[in-house]
């Protein structure tokens, strides 16, 4: 998006087409297309079980047999002696295929296979979760015999068995199509399930000592063509035909997966991945699939509340809004909006700040951040979309080289991870990660680690981009990365964690420029990209318009029909807002969907305690104890809106459930009314009309480069004896509040552990299995140690896992912590 405009994808190479006939109908498809796919082009559905477009062909179930005739060398079309599996055979010129529709042989073969599949399949459809949406049931009806001739003994097993806390296996129902095992092996790279035994006793097995630890296990349940794999959360809960489905988008991260929300009588029963080829293909992660119970918990706010005599008491909307408006009107106020809301809601927060509160003190970053990051986002990210040349998922598919920095895709954007794995498998994409340790996720990408202690990322990036005077030049990995970067078109993916490393974001952009490649910013939260483009940053107005630019300001003021001039000076960021509030310079805070502990700022609690706090939230949160007014808002499943995924692609969602809860933008509009300002965000249509009126503006690149500070000299932390540098990021499944209420999912979260190198362990006389206590900045956690090759004198722990909350330290790149052997005394 920033550096080079010419993309290789401009001119697609000529695709060789192959003409053949299927059931007498002519069709022309690209070379190497499978016969079963070619038939789909004609609307001919050949029954199938093992076949799945996202998996490598296997030809195991034999359900898709068709008759095939091929021209010989003289051009005489000769029938092949046996029926062929259409899921493994590729098309050939002049091929004549006859499916069950025109061939008695194919029809009999299919009916025969179907009868055989049912030989060992229990007739428990009446109690099976899959009943009603079962490919076996459906295809037995469409392509099977009317009745079975089997009158003998079926194979039986105890049922079901847990293969993880969230996936259950019923071996009797399994038809051994190997979709689940192939998915786990090929797509997810987690081959923790495999077929074992042989003959009719073949079955899906697990390792006895290795759990089915995969963030993508839910996909196996979804692609199982029978009811053999079921999710613990949904088992026996509902009938497919009782469910109402709403197309939606996942709210858990910036990957932007399409989802189908299945609900019944006002309650979400399950969520499934919806196929969106350009985004999540057909997959999603377990968090997106199963973490949907949080709005159904007991602590959901139903009514507005105000604090009286220290207690929050339910009041009418009228009263709550009046109290809120009075409190905000009396003082200088700021707005904190977490990265969880949709972009229309974010837009309303920004507009409220500028129009009703008269301030640019608004920030969506409820996490460690920096002024440098804000500048980077304004220059390189805002306005970047697939249309303006931004990096897309499809670009990852074909990239020659991808450099990850401050970004662990499997944990922080799982669908980006799946795409990178696909690129590695199918396009031999080389992945390099600038990080302190090689994770299993990087291993699954065939990736190479460029070892770097936290805080030294800038140095590594500069060395990669420059002539290489750095000490890093020595290693093979580094040399390989330098070589790989010589091919143009490299993609640099930076994570939000890089915000706190001085100079790193600029260095990443420089690297992309020097490698004639592109850079993309992949935030963790679903709402961050949308909030950025909606202008909820102190220096940014909607549509990438700059606060500091008179023309931009006027454009927005005109759009908003503002009666007074918009505030002219860029505002405070989240940290500055908290600091100002904690000393009383800011007296009022409008806080939407923020967990104050996520910010990791020392002044967070004091700021909330001191300020007049209007909290817009779903449930009791860390802000609630400080709130003076609580305004309930609608959760994701009950609201309509859109996210921008990391690509900048709009991902609209609709409300799955009927609700009386109001979306944030509606509540903010009422609050503004009470403040005497017309916000114009009463309905989604109103907000969207306004947002759409702004002409898209592509990122301007380094237009303020010269104005920016040169990258600060990097001060590498130097741990003393008994100290180490902390490296930390969040795991996908952790203590995040949006995973509350789903014990089966929580059961597969990775147990927290402290990872360190053998050298580091030796200095502390630590052996594998020991407990270590890590402390610093008022935080103290005790976890088991795991020793693996990594950067010495660095210890990695998850940021926010069970009994391991290091959020207070996560904000400093390379915090120095004390590490001692054994549990906390």
């Amino acid at each position: 998006m920033t550096v080079t405009s010419d993309k290789s994808s401009g001119e697609a190479p000529e695709v060789e087409m192959v003409a053949l006939t299927i059931d007498g109908l002519e069709v022309s498809v690209p070379k190497d297309t499978l016969v079963i796919r070619a038939a789909e082009q004609l609307g001919i559905q050949i029954p199938r079980f093992c076949d799945h477009p996202g998996l490598d062909p296997v030809g195991a179930c034999r359900q898709c047999l068709v008759e095939v005739a091929m021209p010989d060398r003289e051009g005489n079309v000769k029938p092949m002696p046996k029926p062929q599996a259409s899921c493994t055979m590729t098309v050939a010129p002049g091929m004549e295929v006859k499916t069950q529709l025109t061939s008695a042989v194919a029809d009999k073969a299919q009916q025969g296979v179907m009868e055989l599949l049912l030989v060992n399949h229990p007739l428990d459809c009446p109690v099976c979760d899959k009943g009603g949406e079962c490919p076996l049931q459906n295809q037995a009806m469409s392509n099977g015999r009317a009745s079975s001739r089997f009158e003998d003994v079926k194979r039986t097993y105890p049922k079901p068995i847990n293969i993880s806390s969230q996936v259950l296996l019923d071996r009797e129902r399994c038809i051994l199509c190997a979709r689940c095992t192939r998915f786990s092996d090929q797509v997810a790279g987690d081959p923790f399930i495999a077929l074992v035994e042989r003959g009719a006793l073949q079955q899906v097995g697990i390792y006895e000592e290795q759990p089915f630890e995969s963030y993508f296990s839910g996909n196996t349940v979804q692609i199982c063509p029978v009811g053999a794999l079921t999710g613990a959360a949904y088992r026996f809960r509902s009938r497919p035909f009782d469910l109402v489905s709403t197309a939606s988008v996942c709210e858990h991260c910036a990957s932007g997966c399409s989802l189908r929300v299945d609900h019944r009588r006002g309650k979400v029963m399950r969520r499934m991945a919806l196929a969106t080829p350009e985004v999540n293909e057909e997959w999603n992660c377990d968090k997106g699939r199963w973490a949907f119970t949080y709005p159904m918990l007991d602590d959901r706010f139903e009514l507005p509340m105000v604090r009286r005599d220290g207690e929050l008491v339910p009041v009418s909307w009228q009263e709550a809004l009046a109290v809120a408006a009075d409190g905000l009107r009396a003082t200088r106020s700021a707005v904190l909006v977490g990265g969880r809301v949709g972009r229309e809601d974010a837009y309303a927060y920004g507009k409220l700040a500028r129009l009703a509160l008269g301030t640019n003190d608004v920030d969506f970053r409820a996490r460690p951040h920096s002024a440098e990051e804000e500048r980077y986002l304004a220059e390189h990210v805002v306005g970047s979309t697939p249309e303006t040349g931004g990096v897309t998922y499809a670009d990852l598919d074909t990239a020659t080289t991808v450099v990850l920095v401050g970004f662990e895709p499997e944990e922080e954007s799982p669908i980006v991870f799946l795409r990178l794995r696909k690129a590695y498998r199918k396009a031999a994409t080389k992945v390099f990660s600038i990080a302190p340790l090689e994770t299993r996720g990087l291993d699954k990408l065939g990736g190479t680690l460029l070892p770097s202690a936290p805080g030294t990322e800038t140095e590594v990036l500069q060395a990669l981009a420059g002539d290489g005077t750095s000490e890093h030049m020595g290693s093979d990995a580094f040399a390989a990365a330098r070589t790989a970067l010589r091919d143009p078109g490299a993609i640099v993916l930076v994570g939000e964690r890089l915000a706190t490393v001085p100079g790193a974001l600029a260095a990443a952009a420089d690297l992309a420029r020097s490698a004639s490649g592109r850079v993309a910013w992949v935030p963790r939260r679903a709402g961050e990209r949308g909030a950025l483009d909606a202008g909820t940053l102190p220096s940014l107005l909607p549509g990438g318009r700059l606060v500091a630019d008179q023309a931009d300001r006027s454009e927005i003021a005109e759009l908003w029909q503002a009666e007074t001039e918009l505030p002219t000076t860029p505002g405070r960021d989240t940290a500055a807002i908290l600091e100002s509030a904690s000393i009383g310079e800011i007296g009022g805070l409008v806080v939407g969907g923020v967990d104050v502990d996520d910010i990791g700022h020392a002044d967070g609690h004091e700021a909330l305690r001191r300020a007049f706090v209007v909290s817009l939230d779903l449930r009791e949160s860390t802000v609630t104890p400080f709130a003076d007014v609580v305004l309930p808002v609608a959760p994701h499943d009950e609201s309509e809106g859109s996210f921008l995924d990391w690509e900048g692609r709009p991902r609209p969602y609709r409300a799955a459930l009927d609700t009386t809860a109001m979306a944030d933008h509606r509540v903010l509009s009422m609050l503004a009314d009470e403040l005497g300002v017309f916000l114009g965000t009463r309905s989604l249509r109103e907000v969207r009309a306004e947002m759409d009126a702004l002409a898209p503006r592509a990122p301007q690149g380094g237009r303020t480069d010269d104005a920016g500070d040169p990258p600060s000299p990097v001060s590498v932390p130097s741990p003393g004896p008994g100290e180490m540098v902390l490296a930390t990021w969040r795991t996908l499944l952790d203590r995040g509040t949006m995973q509350d209420g789903e014990p089966f999912l929580a059961g597969t979260a990775k147990a927290p552990r402290a990872v360190m190198s053998p050298v580091s362990a030796e200095t502390l006389s630590i052996v594998p299995g020991d407990l270590v206590t890590v402390s610093g900045g008022g935080v103290r956690v005790t976890v088991p140690v795991h020793i693996q090759p990594m950067v010495d004198h660095v210890v990695w722990l998850p940021t926010n896992s069970e009994s391991c909350d290091l959020r207070a330290l996560a904000g400093q790149a390379g915090a120095v912590v004390t590490v001692t052997k054994g549990g906390a005394a």
Partner: protein, 440 residues
Amino acid sequence: MATQLTPILTKFWDHPQSWTLATYEDNEGYQALKQALTMEPADLVQMAKDSGLRGRGGAGFPTGMKWGFLPPDDGGPRYLVVNADESEPGTCKDIPLMMAAPHFLIEGVAITSFAIGCNHAFIYVRGEVVHVYRRLLRAVEEAYAAGYLGKDIQGTGYDLDVTVHAGAGAYICGEETALLDSLEGRRGQPRLKPPFPAVAGLYARPTVVNNVESIASIPPILLHGSDWFADMGTEKSQGFGIFSLSGHVKYPGQYEAPLGITLRELIDMAGGMRDPSKKLKFWTPGGSSTPIFTDRHLDVPLDFESVAAEGSMLGTRALQIFDETVSVVRAVSRWIDFYKHESCGKCTPCREGTWWLAQVLERLEHGKGTPEDIDKLVDICDNILGRSFCALGDGATSPVTSAVKYFREEFEVGCHTPWWEAFPPEASTLFNQRSVKVNA
């Protein structure tokens, strides 16, 4: 003119130490290798083609042509893998050969490897035959010590390593791609073809997979010329082969003879039927996966074409002889039990079909069949044959369909009479030639 035996591979099996290198060298051993190493590899491939040698593992694919399928040398490794996973019911030629004269195989491996440009060959031996495994290991050791394997063989600069690998006891691993998976350390299940092993076989490199007997035949062919070999046998099935007679013959064993010999001749050589008063009832020409023959087929020349013309396959020349005291239903039922147990489970027809066939056959065996069962058996076979992933499923249907074809009335008996009444087991015993009724 009666066909004569042609003891070549079996020539010195009666030597008290037939398996040693010394014995082998006394019998022209390793002379062919020395000669081969002076030749152009391409000439060796041509020699194999000229000899007309067809794969001795059952399918009869021309061996030289298979070698010729390898793509041109790209500098990377290419492999020879010997299929010594002999597991077919009735087949017992490779195991005795490797037991009695393992150096035929090892010399053949060395020559073939040289011909195809392979520097590491593998012999995949059926895991149950530990004694054969040990003998092979010892023979390879001897060959290394004598400089027939290893680095710079016979001072020619040619290097060859041979790894003998024991399988873990799965019939499916005799299927060449399943064998390769197993050899690579995976579960033995057949691979999708293409790519064929010649293009992407072991470790995804060009690979030739040959049967033990095919490879063992190479040294004599080289030594005596392809014409010598081609003069034996019939026009399209040239050369000699080991015929394994088992069951109700006087002297069961391995009879090495030109292809085209008849069962009548072989039974004569084997001293006639075990009990001359009992008639030959049915027999397999090439193991349990080949459709059975009856006494009507005694004069069918045992070559690839003639056997195929009569509706069966030459297979591995495993002649299991059953006399009239045997229930064909019971014999077929045992074979199907084997296939049910050995089906790898990958594809539906073989996995579920053998499970079902076994139950129907068991009913018929016990006189509890229904009139529909016989047609059902045939139809299940029709749904397996040609629908399975590999030939295992196809092979499983052979005994059923051929037995129903020749002995349908016996299956009908299975609808009311248990096998022990129709075919009293004591009639088959040697110690009680006269039938004695035991009151149950």
